[in-house]
Assembly symmetry: D3
Homo-oligomer: 325 residues x 6
């Protein structure tokens, strides 16, 4: 039946292309563009009936969604806007959809700074924060704390294989935060000096699990063992509504060369057939909710076990695709 969905507005198609070709990228940027595209579709619709209008919007959503089916912020934007499409006439539908898209965009544009303030409130003057990987949501908490005049120190894990810890370290130095950089293996030793572990999230599941950069779960287990609370900073576009229906998040396996160079591989494998040497490079891992003390979003902080309620509030209970009628 979806086959019969009508053609979409050229602007929507253009946005879809840009997302597909990664001209538009980054969780927030994609979400913003998708909401904008739905508003444009609504604006320009010349639908003769509410039903036609709805089908146009659903078609637009489907087109957008299919560009990057694994990016969690994209369907969230679509779901959020379509949930606000209401009215009994085309005119009412148009108005409500545009208003909803705008609301989404405004909220999104303020989300990181709101989240940062909330996260900052958990930190006290003099606190030492251990970070893993690089997350603008997490950094916004530290930035807000510094702006509030708190003295904060950071212990930054380098985060192999890609060492995004270096980016975190650099940005923290730009904020004037004293940084101790350590290899990932040193985390447990330095947890004795830390007052918080602070990380971002790639996405958050309905069972309260946090999907984040590989190494997060091992760090969280050690933080609990050392008595250090773990705080996850994540805008609500990182919530993963598909997981409400039990779906697990597929963990991306990245290129071997991020871990070993060709020479290193050759050195290890020697002249042997090298099929006995496998280099595995998962991008993320899953931290169970019991090792996370709080998830900080722009809508407040939540224990991970209750985040599913926020997910339902924002994106609905429905388990179908975002454009499902």
């Amino acid at each position: 039946m979806n086959d019969s969905l009508p053609a979409v507005d050229p602007d929507v198609a253009a946005t879809a292309d840009d997302i597909a070709e990664m001209e538009i990228r980054g969780a927030a940027t994609i979400a913003d563009a998708a909401a904008e595209a739905l508003a444009r579709q609504a604006e320009r619709s010349e639908a003769a009936s509410p039903e036609v209008f709805r089908r146009q919007l659903r078609a637009a959503a489907k087109t957008l969604y299919e560009t990057r089916p694994t990016a969690v912020s994209l369907p969230n934007a679509l779901r959020y806007v379509l949930r606000g499409m209401s009215g009994e006439t085309v005119s009412e539908l148009r108005a409500s959809t545009i208003a909803r898209a705008e609301e989404f965009q405004v909220d999104l544009s303020q989300a990181q700074s709101k989240l940062g303030e909330i996260g900052s409130n958990r930190l006290r003057d003099g606190d030492v924060v251990m970070t893993h990987c690089h997350s603008t949501d997490a950094l916004s908490c530290l930035e807000a704390a510094v702006e509030d005049g708190k003295e904060i120190e950071a212990i930054v894990k380098e985060t192999r294989p890609r060492k995004q810890g270096h980016i975190t370290a650099r940005q923290l130095r730009e904020l004037g935060v004293p940084v101790t950089l350590v290899v990932d293996n040193a985390a447990r030793r330095y947890l004795d000096r830390a007052d918080h572990v602070l990380v971002g999230a790639d996405s958050i599941a309905a069972d309260g699990s946090v999907i984040n950069k590989i190494g997060t779960s091992g760090l969280a287990v050690n933080a609990r063992e050392r008595g250090v609370p773990v705080m996850v900073a994540a805008q609500t576009i990182k919530l993963h509504p598909d997981t409400m229906t039990g779906h697990t998040v597929e963990i991306e396996m990245r290129a071997e060369r991020e871990v070993v160079s060709d020479e290193q591989r050759a050195d290890i494998a020697g002249e042997r057939a090298d099929d006995g040497l496998v280099v595995e490079n998962p991008a993320f891992d899953v931290t169970p909710p019991r090792y996370v003390d709080a998830i900080v979003t722009e809508r407040g902080q939540f224990p991970p076990e209750s985040i599913v309620i926020l997910m339902r509030e924002l994106f609905g209970e429905t388990t179908g695709e975002p454009w499902a009628p």
Copy 2:
């Protein structure tokens, strides 16, 4: 009073020099050379009285010890040999000392293969073993298992900063063991596939703590959380008798450049005064005994909580220096 200790045999002095200049290195090689030197001293002694003989031997021990006061195998060799020096005449003292040194050397030469067999016995056909860093003691267990015809697979952590996991991976491939190489951050994810964690030790303390390559303790905590037993392979020369008197083991801090290159540092620090960026690079960490299931030595396997008893048996209760009367 030590000032009055007599001069030592030239061969002892030569050995001491070689140890000091790292011509002789490696825990076992140093221990062997030290025992040999004491035997030489005993052999060549022209002492006129037992007392003089004893002072000569103590002098030799002191000379040897002072070359590398932090190498745990060196004082262990000295303690072990001097504990066997007994008799009422110079002749008896000489014989007993030489015999004791020989016993030490023979035991030492067989220790790793004995330990390997014992460790191998803990492994079953089809087991998957996760390793950290590179340890010949740990490898000897896997080698013995392979020789016993067991199919073993390995998950090898690369072990930043120095990536000694590559050496482990290469040696395991030489043994024909299938290897999955992962970054340290991936450990918790791969523990679900592992039947054992197997590591070596830099030294072992009287309270059952295991001092080993940085990252060991974080791995052990995760292994317990995942239900995977942790096995430490360590010859008895790694036991650290000083810790019986409460001494803690000083953790070596290694060069920053093992962690970041100069360019990486410059990139992170930018044009800021870089004293806000500290790179810390501890070589080892301390794993509490409650996260270790067994310590495998050439004298059998022990729960970490009972290793102090073996330590007392081999090296005595005395808390003084190895050459103390």
Copy 3:
């Protein structure tokens, strides 16, 4: 005041009798019949005023409830339907009540298969699932997984005293699932092979506790210790709203003969007065929420700590009896 509730429709009375005499049984069947009966009462009401209509419906609910006051699905059906009774005229009340009952029945009829799909989504190809007792909700997850083409294996605990594991094993074999049947005592040993523990529930309390077949809580504790996640499959009719007001669930004590035959008792007690031998046979136990990773319902999966929110959404906050005004 309840005394003055009006007489109920004969069909309602008949349904009540059938429930009381267990002609109608099984959690879902009872719930469906109760909703149907309320719809019938609404349909046939000749009430002269909204107030009279409401009292008739409350009377019907009370009559139905009192047949099996401990069956949790029965009051849930009543609460759900009565919460949907709204309107300002008898006609509106009738329509809304009938619609609500129908909604409940439709949802109920689809609940198990929806739940099965959601539960199936948590399972991956190749997973090994350990089961306890027999639960059609739990089985529906496995069935859906098999239908999705996943290879699933099962480790089935026999579940003394009544060995409902045999039923589970048979139904899994009918689905073509390879089954390893073990005694309950062997559970911890086999958890090392399991990727999930999957159980049903007799009921679920507001504090997140899961009341299920005796042995569930001991299994869940061991699963946590072994690092195996625990998943509870339970339709929302298993939620127990009375527990929102702190009520604990009474655990049924079943007949001694399920545990020992008369001969076995005689053999144990010998010629002694047998009052020193007590055989206790509780039907259920209580698993605290901290040992459960997810509760899978037809409305999505939830951490146990947030299930109270779903309970309030479906059945209201009120702490009174289902027919309370």
Copy 4:
């Protein structure tokens, strides 16, 4: 902009004074007075427009709030009432505000007894309950249980430094409950006899933490270790909405003399400059949600991880001050 808020009704001002001077005190009494004052303001308003009315009410709320900015029940009352202020005319606004204030007051007047019934439902005949400090909410649970005819015994911790356990003990004796009074240090030993730990709360944070009398968290950790469930009794006016935005609760440090008398200090400090002796006397501590089994409120019991949802329901998501527009 707040500067331009209009003057408040004299009665509101009088109430504010009474709160400031602690003529009105106690969490519930303050909350009741604040709601009453807002109703009075609404009643007497002669506002010419809805906008003026709203500003008057906000001014009243601000005036009241600023008397005791750390008393959590006060802003809760204000938030609750203002959230119910709705309508398009002054007359509608007045009516809705007065009705909302009344609703709040009625609920408040019944809260403790409702909470007591709910808490009592968690207790069984013959249970032994360990208490810490003195809390009328906690006592109401025990009182309800006694009224329900249950035999309850209490183990009462004395609760240094102020020994409020004596008050608890006296009130329990008045109820006829057998009391075993112990020092705080004896808690772990007596937990083996206890079926529940029951405490009140000073306030409850959005992350599920319980702020309560110093010693609560140490008791809760031991209760978990001993397998004894922990129940917190707290009316919803104890929920702390500021914590939704990450704010942590400032812990009051009380006078040194509650801990040592001047003579005791002199005896300890001797003739030394006494700046080496610090006596710290924090009034409260923070118990993480993972050590709490249930929070019992007048609106039902909740796992601590879901209390944030109730907080949002009652007091809104807004993160601004209670009188924010």
Copy 5:
């Protein structure tokens, strides 16, 4: 070289036959017979030289050992006696061997009652003890407690599949101990009433693990979670010296029919090829030392982590076969 061991005394051969044919059985009975046989061999030896005598004794030990290589008490008896064989003449060797065998036999005959007294000392008047399976060592503790006049109650797990709990229940009833018999699944629920868990052991490993009837480890994990100490009663002949060299204990898999009857299997498997249904019936499992509070032997009680020291004291460090020179 073993080939050249001399023939053994006919009495030794006869004892070996009786052990092989299970005329002699039970851990203690076998150990006693083996010691007796070695004494007989010593007594009757007409060896011309100490060397010949030693080889005769080793031959006897080997003959005896090979009858039941998996019975741990048998090699322990052999090791113990041969370790006491000392002297420089045949006559001295004979005397020392006979004396040692006698010492072993005397100790063995008193071991269970000594162990019982020691175990009884851990129990207090009024204690409730939960048992698993049937162990005469464990029962001897309860018997001694009863004889000491202590009131003891027992909660007896039936211990599927063979229900040896019935034997325990009967013997406890004979002692007048009140018994509550429960299915294994009910253990966690009844742990709240228990002051101790008391079990025997099939054998005890050098790493402190306790090998005992299947279900012991799951019970021990739950006992720790409920705060109930676990006590293992085991004579020193249950210590397993082979495990000092890392050997793991092979777990016997018993007949499927102990778990399901043929009809039950048929009922489960239906008309399907039954290779999809496997019934596994392991006899024992392994409890890690961290879940055991004390091992009670006739030589005193020990934390499981120190039992290896007792093992070395009694049976020596040697890792060879019992008859190794």
Copy 6:
């Protein structure tokens, strides 16, 4: 048979009287006096045969022991000296006994300072140590650390009911150690600042349990939860050999008035019959070995699980009374 033991030397009798009347008190002082008395008995013996001598010494031991059967240092002194009584003539027996007593006394006189040095070695410059109660053994560790030039800070729990923390605080202030004094309830909050928990011991059991001032076990559980290691300082005269045979240590119940004054009791009990108010005041509690990281003695530090081995070494395996033949 003990009836026939001979009369003891008047000096022994006098010492016994002094111990009984608490003229001689304190664990070390009693032990010293007891050893001295045995030496005196040996010195003055005019025994005609070794057998008579032995019986005289046993009689002396029995006389001394019976003065204070619960003081653990007393039987330890007796056991230690009598274990050294050896020889085949009266003269040899006398000499060996006197020498052994002297050895015991010399060791004892040095024990606390040796222990202090060992304990000090576990502390680092800048460490913060939390203490409970007052223990000269624990203080000797801190004193040695201060003498070694380490900066140490202390958090001192007041230790209700008798507030021995005040003594600890005073003595630490005399050493110049900065002290933060807190009520016992504040311990968990302040553990976040502590690097060590350091306590003494009343006695130490063979299963590794530490019997110490009430509150120790609760503190230890919290210290583990907060990641702070726990160190127990105890001379070997605190080891409790009776516990090798399973004996548990009787916990002294002290006077109610240490907890409540008469007025406080009256205030709590009111006019009610006061048998419903029980004030329990146990002097000690039992900390399981799993919460203790090291026991520091004058013979070195030990994991609690291996202390039984030291106990056997010093006081023998025998389970009889100290004067048993």
